[in-house]
Symmetry: C2
Subunit: 329 residues, 2 copies
């Protein structure tokens, strides 16, 4: 881009009172109305935050340092910015906004920073955890639509920690994925596998986010859970998890992910089940039926919610590709 | 900290409508009232941003990626988060809030990401740039208080680019500082040195911030300027710069730093001046009198402005160590 060809409003002598509108003015050369709207609201809130707190230069510098460290600790297998978003409640909020769920479907929750794209696709009945210290668990699930009809061919990502509360990527020298797999639901919407009973664990707290939690006198613990992510064309992408009832951190999850409808009771494998699935009698059993909604149902609900929420804020918007942009007169 | 000893409100089934208050509730265990207030406003605005834009999971993930890249490109000599703050107008806003200036004093402006702490302290008359391709410039300055009284012993950091528009730290293999120095004002408040005529230059635009500017159809240019930073106990820390009049980017500075009162006209060194200062006749001359305010003047103005601004927002605050915290009944 040739800088001399760019048209901008004259920007000089900007003050506390006029800088926001001028920054948004120069940013409005951006041709994408959705990006323009998102950035405009970002600048408005960023500036309002500084104005309302009367943010000092020293505090600003501390913030710059914090963000820099947060970025610098990120690697291919560590995502500190997702952790930051998680502990500030942003991740759960965004999931709630983008993936609204009608009452008869499975609720979503936070993705967290530990999903990877290299999990092996396993056959039903396979073991997805090779941690011999873990307590054996048989997991029997189905994926169905809101009318109870099985959904075959759903790609399901599943991941959990080992018995020490660490995901595979948290161990140095990881060569193969473990404690994670991909399954494809069968004609009856069924998928099942062997795993270990999830345990509560701390989110990584040796970095900037852990330091922030400590300053806030907050613990870094998550209650025991197993992650599930469902993908199939035509269905809304579902990121969720199941939580074990009675966990000591059930009502104080560091990342705000627990929902009552996602708390499950573990059973015990009886003799018939043990024989049918080829596992030991008496081991722990997790049974769950997941209910997916269609893209269409999700889009409709999302758009209705958007319009209602933004009208309540006095904004006139139109929905373009599922997301609001300002209505221009 | 023993997680089981931490008291928190029960957090479960959080929704779009109640997550903000609950995040602030759990964060309120933090014992520092100022930090509590700053973080509360941060969470409120972060969440409001997501709510007002109906931020999608995909957009959230793009934001996480952008912040991660911004942190990862930072090094000891590159500060991409300051650049981001600069091009979003936050840096100028924070300087305006934290360092308010009465009309008879020198205005502040953005620090930018290129100040270092290793510049040599030079004697008056020394050359602070060794770029032989630069156009020679004699700089004659004073530091005075608002009553015109000279201020001796002020530590002044000065930095500028070379004639190619790059700061020393932008060149690979930098071993020594160049184009930067520290001076101490003499008994008459005078400090003077040899430099080169500043040139306009682009902020580093090969990283995430440059990509953002491009997406926004904004140029990355800054008008020609020289940075000055003044420190002396009892006086308000002054971060400022002088801009050359008539620069093509005078009204479109990528970081919003230009103020009319900071634009200067370059003169030419006459015969008497050339003899007095030992430079060639006819070279460019920059003369400027900087006016510093005391800490006391600055604090008073800052506190008055804070109270006025926050009262206008309907907030009852008290000022603690110069910064507002909520007034608790």
């Amino acid at each position: 881009m040739d800088p001399s060809q760019v048209k901008v409003p004259p920007l000089m002598d900007l003050t506390i009172d006029n800088i926001t509108e001028n920054v948004n003015l120069i940013n409005s050369g951006n041709p994408d109305p959705r990006f323009k709207y998102v950035l405009e609201r970002l600048v408005v809130h960023l500036h309002a935050f500084a104005r309302e707190t009367r943010l000092s230069t020293q505090e600003w510098a501390a913030g710059i340092q914090f963000l820099t460290k947060t970025g610098q600790i990120c690697t291919d297998v560590r995502q500190e910015f997702i952790l930051l978003s998680d502990i500030l409640g942003l991740s759960l909020l965004v999931d709630s906004i983008d993936h609204p769920k009608p009452p008869n479907s499975t609720e979503g929750t936070v993705l967290g920073p530990f999903h990877t794209h290299d999990a092996h696709t396993l056959d039903h009945g396979a073991s997805m955890s090779h941690d011999e210290k873990g307590e054996p668990l048989l997991v029997l699930c189905t994926a169905k639509d809101v009318n109870g009809k099985p959904i075959p061919g759903v790609k399901i990502d599943i991941w959990e920690t080992d018995s020490s509360g660490h995901y595979d990527v948290q161990h140095a020298g990881r060569t193969e994925p473990d404690g994670r797999c991909v399954m494809i639901s069968d004609d009856q919407g069924v998928f099942w596998f062997k795993a270990i009973v999830p345990v509560p664990y701390p989110i990584p707290h040796d970095g900037p986010v852990g330091q922030l939690l400590k300053t806030l006198r907050r613990h870094p613990m998550r209650p025991a859970h197993m992650h599930f992510m469902f993908e199939k064309e035509g269905f809304d992408h579902l990121i969720t998890a199941l939580y074990l009832r009675g966990d000591p951190y059930e009502t104080s999850d560091a990342v705000f992910g627990v929902k009552n409808s996602l708390i499950v009771d573990l059973g015990k494998v009886d003799k018939a089940t043990a024989e049918k699935y080829g596992v030991d009698e008496g081991i722990a059993l997790l049974k769950h039926d997941f209910v997916l909604i269609t893209d269409e149902e999700s889009s409709k609900l999302r758009e209705e919610n958007s319009k209602k929420a933004l009208e309540a804020l006095g904004r006139r918007v139109k929905i373009v590709q599922g997301l609001p942009v300002p209505e221009v007169d």
